[in-house]
Amino acid sequence: MFERTLNVFWIVFGAASAVYAWSLGMVGPAGPESGLFPFIASIIVSGAGIVLLLRRAVVAPDFPRGGGLWRVLGVILGLMVMAAEMPYLGFSVTSFITMIILLRTVDRSSWLSAIALAFVSTASVFWLFGQILGMALPRGPWGW
């Protein structure tokens, strides 16, 4: 079922993209315009979607359930927090929070070991990149 839905998505996505590419222009006086290559690629996406939809062989994906699902969602959530908060809270704090989320959801570590591991890994990455390599990592309102 999931794969069929995805195939329909390819068809619709390719079609929408093709319409947009068409609006960019196909061929001009000096050969292809901005839209030609994306248009061809979009048509291939749509076409492949149609072929896949018509085909009988369907893969049944083994999506995770229960604990596995929670762990996967935990990693995704952790990364979302990281990307969303880094510009505001700076690298160190965000990465510390993310690590706690990861270790608590995925690993179910105890609070103590989660905090310890989060601190050590954040500090060592910060030290390696921020200090040794002199990379400008995002800073929080408190300056680090």
Partner: protein, 497 residues
Amino acid sequence: MMEALNGLLTGFAVILTPSNLYLCFLGSLIGTLVGVLPGVGPLAALALLLPVTFTLSPIGGLVMLASIFYGAMYGGSTTSILLNIPGEAASVVTCFDGHQMARQGRAGPALGIAAIGSFIAGTLGVVIMTFFAPAIAAVAIRFGPPENFSLMVLGLVCTLFMISGSTIKGVLMMALGFLTAAVGLDVVNGRERYTFGSVDLSGGVELLAVVIGLFGIAEILSNVETMAKSTLLADRIRGLWPSLADWRASWRPILRGSGLGFVLGLVPGGGPVTAAFMSYALEKRIAAQPDRFGKGAIEGVAGPESANNSAVAGSLIPVLSLGIPSNPVTALLLGALIIQGIQPGPLFIAQRPDLFWGIVASMYIGNVFLLLLNLPLVGLWVQFLRIPYRVMFPVVLLLCVVGTYSANKNVFDLWVMLGFGVAGYVLRKLEYDLAPFVIAFVLAPLLEQSLRQSLVMSPDGAMILIKRPVTALLLAVSVVLTFLMFRRRTKSEGGLP
């Protein structure tokens, strides 16, 4: 010939001082480390260390930067093999068979052959550079838009051979790679497309974010899903070094990879990344049993790992003998020279023989350093596999984030990485092959730009693609290969798709 040998002697005289040797060793060490760290590639490392080189002599600074570049190619294979996460974009293909080998307890031979292949290819590349740099540069500069176009076409056709599993899904991925590459500024007319008013998208989609997402994050997601086992591998580790059989299987791929990588390093676009992909495609195409690929074939490690190293030597030729960078890393090396007050151009070798030959000589030495450094590390890396995954993955994840951020210093890239990570995780479950996406993404901008450039500069339209002999030849080869592939696929699969 004599001239080259004399030059080389000059070079060794320049380089064999304690401080230069130390810098070469330091660069090799840093390069290996950056290569190992997932996400942090040679470009970020060179940019970060550029200020350090101001305080060094021109030759010292350059030797160090160059050794970081090729050192990263040695280190890049490590995480590919151990964790199935590419250390940098040029090591994506090493994951396919390298990690399978590791799962079979053969991480040692995989790492070993990667290091030795890198050494052979790196050294062969420097040997060619020693004797033919000016001649090759003179040919390379004639390579114009039509030649680039036909080379990219050939590259795409080769990618078709690489697709594992369903052909139609692979083609779909290639088309998506094309579309993703179209996001941002159209290089031909400066217009924005597929950006929908977003400033972040106007910069296009960052290759590193795509690669780390599709291969790094997706891999971590599938690993945390089945967290039952405590380490990545079963305890048995079979042998640390490549066996005689491994050697027999590997020496030809190493030589082929060296040659292919060197040529692809010369031309603009991709460099080591394209070289590794093409070498994998080539090995799979000519293998007696192509279905062994993706299941731990040592040729799939030996070829690409050699190719990305000789591509480094190849890409240094245009920049050192003409001052023309063929990829972002060599552009940075050029900048480092300019900051030192040196302007490479066609007279660089004649005017600064000490610098040119010094770098060439340092590459012989650097490759030896890297081999001596990496072989003992094999044993250490293999032990890393015993670290419980639950301890390892948060740190790896953090490195992926920092590495991705380091490319443009734009937090938006983290969203791109996450998006591609989730997409890659889902698509893998549906048995989509993600490699064609990456290679199409790399080749697409150059393909489109060079075709449009060719048509603009040609008085009689598309005829320019037939009139120029190199272009015509490459296109003809592409057509024949496509034909062969479809015939074989239809035979083996009993009809498309």
